[in-house]
């Protein structure tokens, strides 16, 4: 089938304003949007710039705004978006070039929630025990691939880049509800700050954007509740 692909272009340090490039090309309805971008890059316009690696939705490289929604280009098929496709970079972070945004601020937020297990004491010789139910408790949030789709879909984040954002909260949740972790307080205190979890207004855009189908708003709600019920 024939499609019209429009891409919002920009090069930091060169362009003052973003502009649109338009391409016409033949694709299969079952091709990924990433395939279409590749076809353009490889056979029409080598200057078109985007990140990608795994091409099947597990590395988190290619989140972008596709027809007005944050998606992974490698996880949306042409037939799901139709023959008029408009692609833009994620909102809220500086664009380096075309569909590539600067991720450093995003990862600084992620790092700020201590996204790693802290377990007091010498570990046992074998594994720490954890029941299947305890393991299930945080399963959903272990799926995050840090693709940035959620945070950059959040209307609270757009005007306020200080908001720690759903992705960081998801990763804090992953450890807050892990029975082995002993560093709950520091993480909770971080999320209790002015740019923390209370900024979330239950908008659910993050959930709709998440390619891993994580129920992010639920995770955020559970963190809020944990703060609420925290002693002291």
């Amino acid at each position: 089938m024939h499609i019209r692909l429009r891409v919002k272009r920009f090069e930091a340090g060169k362009d003052r304003e973003p502009y649109w490039s338009e391409y016409g090309l033949e694709v299969e309805a079952t091709d990924r949007v990433l395939d279409a971008l590749h076809r353009v890059k490889w056979h029409q316009d080598g200057t078109l710039t985007f990140r990608r690696s795994c091409a099947h939705g597990v590395c988190g490289s290619d989140a972008m705004l596709i027809n007005g929604r944050n998606r992974l280009a490698c996880k949306v098929l042409i037939r799901d978006v139709g023959d008029h496709i408009a692609v833009e970079p994620l909102r809220g972070y500086p664009v380096i070039r075309d569909l590539v945004v600067d991720q450093s601020a995003f990862f600084r937020k992620y790092e700020s929630v201590q996204p790693y297990l802290v377990a007091d004491g010498e570990p046992p010789a074998r594994e720490r025990r954890q029941s299947p139910a305890e393991r299930e408790r945080f399963d959903d949030t272990t799926k995050c691939i840090l693709c940035m789709a959620c945070t950059t879909s959040c209307p609270v984040f757009w005007p306020n880049p200080e908001y720690v954002g759903p992705a960081a909260i998801v990763n804090a949740h992953r450890f807050l509800f892990d029975s082995r972790d002993t560093e709950k307080e520091g993480r909770l205190a971080r999320l209790n700050a002015g740019d923390g979890v209370w900024r979330c207004r239950t908008i659910f855009n993050c959930v709709e954007a998440c390619p891993r189908e994580i129920n992010i708003t639920r995770a955020i709600g559970e963190v809020k509740k944990a703060l609420l019920l925290q002693k002291g």
């Binding site: 930091a12 972070y93 500086p94 380096i96 600067d102 450093s104 601020a105 600084r108 937020k109 790092e111 700020s112 609270v156 005007p159 306020n160 880049p161 200080e162 720690v164 971080r190 209790n192 700050a193 002015g194 740019d195 923390g196 209370w198 900024r199 809020k224 703060l227 609420l228």
Partner: protein, 130 residues
């Protein structure tokens, strides 16, 4: 890679302010549900604006319970509404100076309206024989 932005892991310590504000919004919301919808139902549905005049107010406020009801509604709605706007200022006003200014103005305004509204309700004298 090059750092093009500075907005990162900065945190604004909040104590429990944000938590209580959040909780207050929900609790006051539920109370307001009864107060505000009750008020609307009485004033605009059962009575209708054409019936509202000085005499009506006087009649109503001769009962201190109604005075309290109205004051409570006023206070709660004001604080709830202003806290809502405070959240919006935090969201939208990025320039630090402007932000502080907006927040101060907001609290001043809230106080002024709260005091003014309270004075009205407290000072109002039901005319004799009214």
């Amino acid at each position: 890679m090059a750092e093009l932005t500075a907005a990162g892991g900065r945190t604004r310590p909040a104590g429990k302010l944000e938590l209580y504000a959040w909780l207050f919004m929900r609790v006051s919301g539920v109370v307001l549900l009864f107060l505000a919808l009750g008020h609307l139902a009485i004033m605009h549905l059962l009575e209708g604006v054409d019936k509202i005049n000085f005499a009506f107010v006087a009649g109503r406020w001769s009962n201190p319970l109604w005075r309290f009801y109205d004051w409570f509604l006023l206070a709660l709605a004001l604080v709830h509404g202003f806290n809502g706007v405070r959240v919006m200022v935090d969201d939208y006003v990025r320039r630090p100076g402007l932000r502080v200014f907006s927040l101060v103005m907001l609290w001043v305004l809230t106080l002024v309206f709260l005091v003014a509204g309270t004075l009205v309700i407290v000072l109002f004298q039901v005319p004799v024989g009214g």
